[in-house]
């Protein structure tokens, strides 16, 4: 309704909290990608931070969504993995007490139920090294950020 620019078919969303070190890797990557917006005129880059359910609206009725987040996958810290929603099962435990928790896979499920889910959703999960309070990434992830950008670029061309 009041959006300042028309919604594009492809969206890249960075999730996470930049106050908790590697938790914010999705946002750090989006900040870098946003500086190259001119190379991707048909893509929206969105820093969604820790906005759990807002994701439902950010992906609604797009053709493709790419979601970047810190992910506990049992891999080596710094590992990036590309996967689709049906390749993984959530092991996240929700208390259901609070709105301040969200499970992306449940949000996607709701999006499907509502008939507005993008045909293609790609995740890039990055295994964190540190989730301690702090605004900087761990050296392990920081050293690999250019690699992460290359992975995501490939997804957009």
């Amino acid at each position: 309704m009041t959006s300042q620019s028309p919604r594009k078919d492809v969206v890249v969303i960075g999730l996470g909290n930049v106050l908790l070190s590697d938790e914010g890797i999705g946002v750090h990557i989006i900040r870098r990608l946003s500086t190259r917006q001119d190379k991707f005129p048909l893509v929206d880059f969105i820093d969604a931070g820790s906005a759990g359910m807002a994701l439902l609206h950010l992906i609604a009725n797009r053709k493709k969504a790419v979601i970047i987040d810190c992910a506990q996958m049992g891999a080596e810290p710094g590992t990036i993995r590309r996967f689709a929603a049906d390749e993984v099962q959530s092991v996240k435990k929700l208390s259901h007490y609070s709105l301040h928790e969200a499970d992306i896979l449940q949000v996607i499920n709701l999006s499907k139920q509502l008939g507005e889910c993008p045909r293609k959703i790609v995740f890039f999960g990055i295994e964190p090294e540190s989730l301690e309070p702090g605004q900087n990434l761990s050296k392990t992830l920081n050293d690999k950020i250019d690699d992460y950008i290359i992975h995501i670029h490939k997804e957009l061309v």
Binding site: T2, S3, L19, V88, E101, L110, P133
Partner: protein, 437 residues
């Protein structure tokens, strides 16, 4: 007949880390243990802003919470402006209130629709509810989406606002955009009516439980307004006296308890409540006509002390927010929007800022050195102010429901916690997965 033995330990059952935990132990009909336990990470946010420029505080604290990011930013901005002696224009003030309203509507629709509604409809979560009540869920999603887009317009994005700076705003909407927003809000009234009708249809499932307590909220007397943003602090125990927000430590009186790493709060009694029901109980007569009407429909009256009705109070506030915003936009458009130059300069000082978060009154306080760098910070979130009240509710509620099944007891205790709309463990990663192929 009373249950002789009840053993509830939600934390143990679900292995939820970092969230609140309900522990009930009843042996031979005697309550041995009944606790609302809240593990909370140390308040590292306060340490994180120390040494930072006054210009960056609102951006950093906006990351504390994904649901109340605008609220945290506004509280911080007000505190910074108080410390530096900055005044904002009437236009800025109104646009900020509109921005704040957008987050209240976001959060309230999310709470009513996604967290509380499944309880009322006896569904495990909102996802299976789509199959059973598709129209209701779609209407809730629509209202939530409108609120999110409203935040986009005023705050620069849905979450973690980018338009707020000490002294003003970096960007304002066009008059055309405000007109569009106003029309959308007028259309939203119909959706709110649909949601209210659906909730009213299952309102019999809202537990009947009462416990008189102290309700603490903002109160604005000049002009009298149902406020989320301006005014001072009051309660139903404070004999009509409104304290300036700088006195907030006299209200919260935070203290440490053994069962929780989060601090608890008390004022005139051993516990108090904050949130929509507190605001309603202190200011109900100032609600907009549509909100008054919604309250009447649900039988919600000033003095209500059923904590489960907090969800209904939120729904009532949704009407107030939309109706008031429509009128505010009229006022802004009549005067015409102006581009305003914002300037500020560093200065030593200390200031407090207070706004109502969707889940209750929120305090920020900062001190700056002469270069404008933060040397001290103190933040008190609404959820911490509700913990003691939740415990006291538990202590009255459990003996009243001991003759119900263990599952029913657990559900009612969980619903009670949900009714307070708590902010327990924000900002944890959303993806925790194992690969299945």
């Amino acid at each position: 007949m009373h249950n002789n033995n009840v053993d509830i330990n939600v934390h143990h059952i679900t292995r939820v880390e970092g969230h609140g935990n309900i522990v009930v132990n009843v042996t031979e009909g005697k309550i041995e243990k009944l606790q609302w336990q809240v593990p909370e990470a140390p308040r590292f946010f306060e340490a994180m802003v120390r040494g930072q420029s006054y210009q960056d505080i609102q951006t950093i604290v906006s990351r504390i919470c994904g649901i109340c990011s605008i609220t945290h930013s506004l509280a911080a901005t007000k505190a910074v402006e108080s410390a530096l002696g900055l005044k904002v224009s009437e236009q800025t003030d109104k646009l900020r209130i509109l921005m704040h309203y957008s987050e209240q509507l976001q959060s309230h629709t999310l709470h009513v629709g996604y967290l509380a509604a499944p309880d009322f409809f006896d569904a495990p979560s909102v996802v299976p509810l789509v199959a059973r009540a598709a129209d209701v869920v779609k209407t809730i999603v629509k209202a939530h989406r409108i609120a999110n887009e409203w935040s986009d317009l005023l705050a620069g994005r849905t979450t973690h606002p980018v338009t707020l700076i000490p002294g003003g705003l970096t960007r304002i909407p066009t008059e055309k955009q405000l007109r569009q927003l106003q029309q959308t809000l007028k259309d939203t009234v119909l959706d709110l009516n649909k949601i209210a009708e659906a909730v009213l249809g299952v309102a019999a499932n809202i537990p009947k439980f009462e416990r008189p307590t102290e309700y603490v909220s903002l109160k604005q007397t000049n002009p009298p307004t149902y406020t989320f943003y301006h005014g001072g602090i009051t309660s139903n125990d404070n004999k009509g006296v409104v304290l300036p927000i700088e006195k907030w430590h006299d209200v919260t009186n935070e203290y440490i308890v053994e069962q929780s790493t989060a601090k608890w709060a008390k004022w005139h009694r051993d516990a108090y409540a904050v949130g929509a029901l507190a605001r309603f109980n202190n200011n109900a007569e100032l609600l907009s006509p549509m909100a008054q009407n919604a309250a009447k429909t649900f039988g919600l009256q000033k003095g209500c002390c059923n904590p489960y009705m907090n969800t209904v109070a939120q729904l009532v506030e949704c009407f107030h927010i939309v109706e008031t915003s429509i009128a505010m936009i009229d006022g802004l458009l009549t005067k015409g929007l102006k581009d305003e130059k914002v300037t500020s300069a560093p200065k030593a000082g200390r200031g407090a800022g207070c706004v109502e978060a969707p889940r209750g009154i929120l305090f920020h306080e900062y001190e700056f050195d002469k270069k404008g760098n933060c040397v001290a910070a103190d933040i008190c979130i609404p959820t911490n102010q509700n913990h003691a009240n939740i415990q006291k509710d538990f202590e009255k509620l459990l003996p009243e429901i001991l003759d119900e099944s263990e599952n029913q007891i657990r559900l009612k205790l969980e619903m009670l916690v949900r009714a307070y709309d708590p902010c327990i463990s924000c900002s944890t990663h959303f993806l925790d997965v194992k690969f299945v192929r």
